[in-house]
Symmetry: C2
């Protein structure tokens, strides 16, 4: 049940999904994003367009699917020795990755899809990473803010600025982390 949404692991569906995802990533890396179409992806993946249309419906849905996959963290946040250091390192890296052209585009792809599942999953990934940092900090006996507080004070401003204004620099991210950590005492 915790199995993502996909079909069963070894089936034909899974193979098609993998090859379509791979084709989409390859094309996105190779050419301008406005020129990537479903027939192109289908040709690259070795399937017929109708297969993609039936499964994903629109290009946005497919790209969102691919983007969510790429936004899933592949490792635990670095352990710098303190919760504050961990959060700062994580936040700086996150801000940098997401403000890159690729990161920006992935976020927008995720948001463009119809169902709310993609964005929520991304938020979940972030919350999970913060949770790891938090548990590590608490195990060391340190104070650490609630995950929701970190989302509100650190993650939200980073993402909001990337989407609507201009990406925050490392110094501003540091300020956000400091503000969030100040919240920890009230726990």
């Amino acid at each position: 049940m915790g199995d993502r949404e996909g079909p069963r692991p070894g089936g034909r569906s899974a193979r098609v999904q993998a090859s379509v995802h791979g084709a989409a990533r390859a094309l996105l890396a190779r050419m301008d994003r406005a020129q990537v179409t479903i027939p192109l992806i289908a040709a690259e993946a070795g399937v017929t367009p109708s297969t993609i249309y039936r499964r994903w419906g629109e290009l946005h849905e497919l790209l969102a699917d691919v983007a969510v996959e790429r936004l899933r963290p592949d490792m635990a946040p670095a352990d710098t020795g303190s919760g504050r250091g961990d959060l700062l390192a994580w936040a700086e890296q996150y801000a940098e990755e997401m403000s890159s052209d690729l990161g920006r585009r992935m976020i927008r792809d995720v948001l463009a899809a119809e169902g709310g599942a993609g964005p929520r999953r991304c938020c979940g990934y972030v919350a999970e990473q913060i949770g790891v940092i938090a548990r590590r900090a608490l195990a060391r006996g340190e104070a650490f803010p609630e995950t929701d507080a970190v989302l509100d004070r650190v993650v939200a401003p980073i993402v909001y600025r990337i989407l609507f204004d201009e990406a925050l620099g490392p110094d501003r991210v540091g300020d956000l982390v400091a503000t969030a950590m100040a919240e920890a005492r009230r726990r």
Copy 2:
């Protein structure tokens, strides 16, 4: 120069733009969003599809244009007698409007467009409203946080949750405002 990007006020271009915007709004209100297409909008507006394609390029650009228009505030924030009250009232209304289905969709439309002009303009609208509240507060001799601080502590969490998670209730919005107002003392 503060004139938006559009053509001169009375020209033919302006009339076409107005009628296309109106047609798009009418169709969005009347039918499901996935069924709204450029040829449909063109028919409703009484122009040929190629006109729309040439001016906006894609449906997303047009919808983003329409959404930005609708997101522009049409009046100054209510004056409740104090900066804190003004901000609270504004934030609660903003959160409510943006978390509605319509608001959500408009935000996503704005973000889906290619150029970064739309999102920045929306952010500018918000900053402007906050600026009005701030100037009123300062004129009364009250303390009030920087606009950037309000964006980070109040607006960003509201929008982030709407886009990625679940909309915040009025109580949580109140907490955000309280946090932001606490910042004012350091000015």
